[in-house]
Amino acid sequence: MSAPTLEFDDDAARARDELRRLLGARLPRGAVRATRAPDPTAAHHGDVTPYDPALWRELSALGLAGAALPDAVGGAGLSASASVAIAEELGRAAAPCPLLSTSMVAGLARELARCAPSGGVDALSRRIVDGASATIAGASGVDSTPGFDALHRHDGVLLGAARYVADAPEAQVIVALARSEAGPVIVALERGAAGVEVIEERLVDLTRRQGTVRLDGARGQLLASGEVARRAWEAARSWLWTLAAADIVGACEWLLQTTTEYAKTREQFGRPIGVYQAVKHQLVAMMSTIDLARSLTYAAADSISRDAPDREAAARAAKAQASEAARLCAGSAIQLHGGIGFTWECDVHVWAKRALHGQLSYGDAALHRRELSRLWLDAALELR
């Protein structure tokens, strides 16, 4: 295997560091928990709090939502690795904001501009640059990667329901994938438009919102249809998987660092629990899975930027490994905190839930490995 290279330029590093500073100031430790105090008598534990609009305004003023969009539409024109670094910071801070899903839409807009450029696509990009939050609707099954099957378009109007739509209750723009007589279509909708209804899906993850998007006669701006729509979407999926992986990596790194700190201070048998190898070796296992996922995620960003033939495989590999990291890190972080880790009071569950939510969304590890086996084993079979 030849040694790959990774691009990560100063602009990407700057965007990431700025975001880290901002989130550090705006989301001090415990802020998330404080806004979500549960009512133990309620049937559900934890309720939905709207995202902080001031945080979103600051994030989009920094140009982070349009990081991947070209200069021509007012974007920052940064590489995919910048978007990945931004997503990683969101996970690390468990930031309650619609930036992850909006970055996914920016990725889709970039692919649309390549495969099917149009005024409508530019208008979508400009709205993101101007501060609109956005998301993609199209998932039907529990593999929540959107597709063209859940919704359909007939005589110019959209019908059907898409589930598991990230940030749907917050997003101003909903990009719908649908099937139609003309083949697959991609349509941009305003959330407030007639015929668009969003039903909140309450989540275990306290830091994000999600919903079912029900369309009943909604009209919108057609962005692409037929073969180009399919091609643009196939390319855009690698953004989704890679950005989702990055968010998980960030959340897992927080779990690792926080649990490591705890292991240095919590004492039992007269010594910090971090001297015991059962604790040490679990922490090292967390670190190794995170690092494998992180390297694959930046490698996937690189494949996307170069539009390499293996971009789908690279992105699926990243999401598969990140999902493994989520499983291990969420569990070990709780376990290594002992009883306090099992309480609402301790912050660990906030990040553990974000990581698990990430693990379960957009296909888990085994699902992506199954798809990779098609790409890696069956493709090679044909070559033979």
């Binding site: 990407a12 971090g274 390297s295 490698a299 590999a317 085994a366 079979l381």
Partner: protein, 402 residues
């Protein structure tokens, strides 16, 4: 941008072309006798001499010792060994037999040696004129290396060594040993060690006894020292600094630093062979490659191999590495455990055939014996457990257990 990087680039390209051309013209056809899988399994003089000649040819063609200064027998380039090592790996070239010299003795001598020592010993490491072995482990000092008991004391201006080294790879063929011995018995344990370059072959008082490994092969040895004379010019670095010098050796041995013979990387060829095996062997009534469980495990191995390649790329981008040692110190642990998982699947795919000796009719390569052999990697050069301790203490900065 200055001109310097562009010159470097041009040099790198020219060098890569030279390496590719040379390998195309000189890659040897396999000899009539079987070659061992790694330098650790060399059995016969015939294998040894053939492999030595190959390393010498590589050195003469400037594929070995690329980055070592010319006055020490190298080729005086900068940062090109990785290019040559990768080309050798990808061409499926035979391994370089003077493993201990290239990975350990040479970088350690370059870091700690006197000018005279570097001139005397480095050229022989590169050309394979002098074969090296590593005398660190003892019966009672393995993971706890700092507790070595092998004694060296000065008599009439000459060091006298008495003791017992064990698991010494290649000692049967070795001319020299990098030797860790206790010289200051009263001192604190890490401070009482000194590092020597000790003559082995034909040297009076040295006995090398081959040990048979669990695979049935020869490969490592025990080495007994009975009043062995070692001149003071053969002491590397100062008295009592043996531990620090040994740490340099281990850093290179574990692949955390790119050394004269190249760092650690997982090669693609065993994965290809494994996938080919999965196509060939049945599992139930259909080929193993169609079994979802087999597919998942194959893909997991491929995924980790890609991630390890991506680690190398990420390690070169400081902005994506929180701690400079975090990725390098994982190299040994991850690559050896990956190879072990691969050997395990390879064996399991063979079913009952995996228990056959390779010489049996219909036996495949890589059955139970190879799998068992993979434990050599997770034990040697610091066990996996020790690697995890080091990562926990050095990178995560958890408290030391002592």
């Amino acid at each position: 941008m200055t001109d310097a990087p562009r010159d470097d680039d041009a040099e790198r390209r020219a060098f890569a072309t030279h390496v590719a051309e040379w390998l195309r013209a000189h890659l040897p056809t396999p000899p009539a006798f079987a070659l061992p899988a790694t330098p650790r399994e060399v059995q016969t003089e015939q294998q040894h001499e053939w492999l030595r000649a190959w390393q010498r040819a590589c050195w003469e063609a400037e594929l070995v010792g690329c980055d070592v200064p010319r006055e020490y027998g190298g080729h005086g380039r900068r940062g090109l060994q990785a290019t040559a090592s990768r080309a050798l790996r990808e061409a499926g070239a035979p391994f370089l037999v003077n493993l201990v010299a290239l990975q350990m003795a040479c970088p350690t001598i370059l870091a700690h040696g006197t000018e005279a020592q570097k001139r005397r010993f480095v050229p022989g490491c590169l050309s394979a004129d002098e074969i090296w072995c590593q005398g660190f482990s003892e019966p009672n000092a393995g993971s706890d290396l700092a507790s070595v008991q092998c004694r060296a004391s000065v008599r009439d201006g000459v060091w006298r060594v008495d003791g017992h080294k064990v698991w010494t790879t290649l000692a049967r063929f070795a001319d020299w040993m990098i030797l860790l011995a206790r010289t200051e018995p009263g001192a604190q344990k890490h401070a009482g060690l000194t590092y020597f370059l000790c003559p082995i072959k034909g040297h009076s008082g040295v006995t090398v006894r081959p040990l048979v490994k669990l695979t049935g092969e020869l490969g490592f040895n025990e080495v007994l020292f009975d009043d062995v004379a070692v001149a003071d010019e053969l002491r590397l670095d100062e008295r009592g600094r043996g531990w620090q010098v040994a740490m340099t050796t281990l850093l290179h041995e574990r692949g955390a630093a790119e050394s004269a013979g190249g760092g650690l990387a997982v090669p693609a060829s065993p994965l290809d062979a494994l996938v080919a095996l999965a196509r060939r062997v049945p599992r139930g009534t259909s080929p193993a490659i169609e079994d979802p469980w087999v597919r998942d495990r194959l893909v997991s191995l491929m995924l980790t191999a890609r991630a390890l390649a991506a680690h190398q790329a990420r390690a070169r981008v400081p902005a994506l590495c929180d701690h400079p040692l975090r990725l390098p110190l994982q190299a040994k642990l991850l690559t050896t455990e990956w190879a072990q998982a691969l050997a395990h699947l390879e064996m399991e795919l063979q079913g009952a055939g995996g228990a056959l000796l390779v010489a049996e009719p219909n036996a495949e390569q890589g059955g139970a014996r190879s799998y068992l052999g993979s434990y050599g990697m997770t034990i040697a050069a610091g066990t996996s457990e020790i690697q995890r301790n080091i990562l926990a203490e050095r990178v995560l900065e958890l408290p030391r257990h002592r």
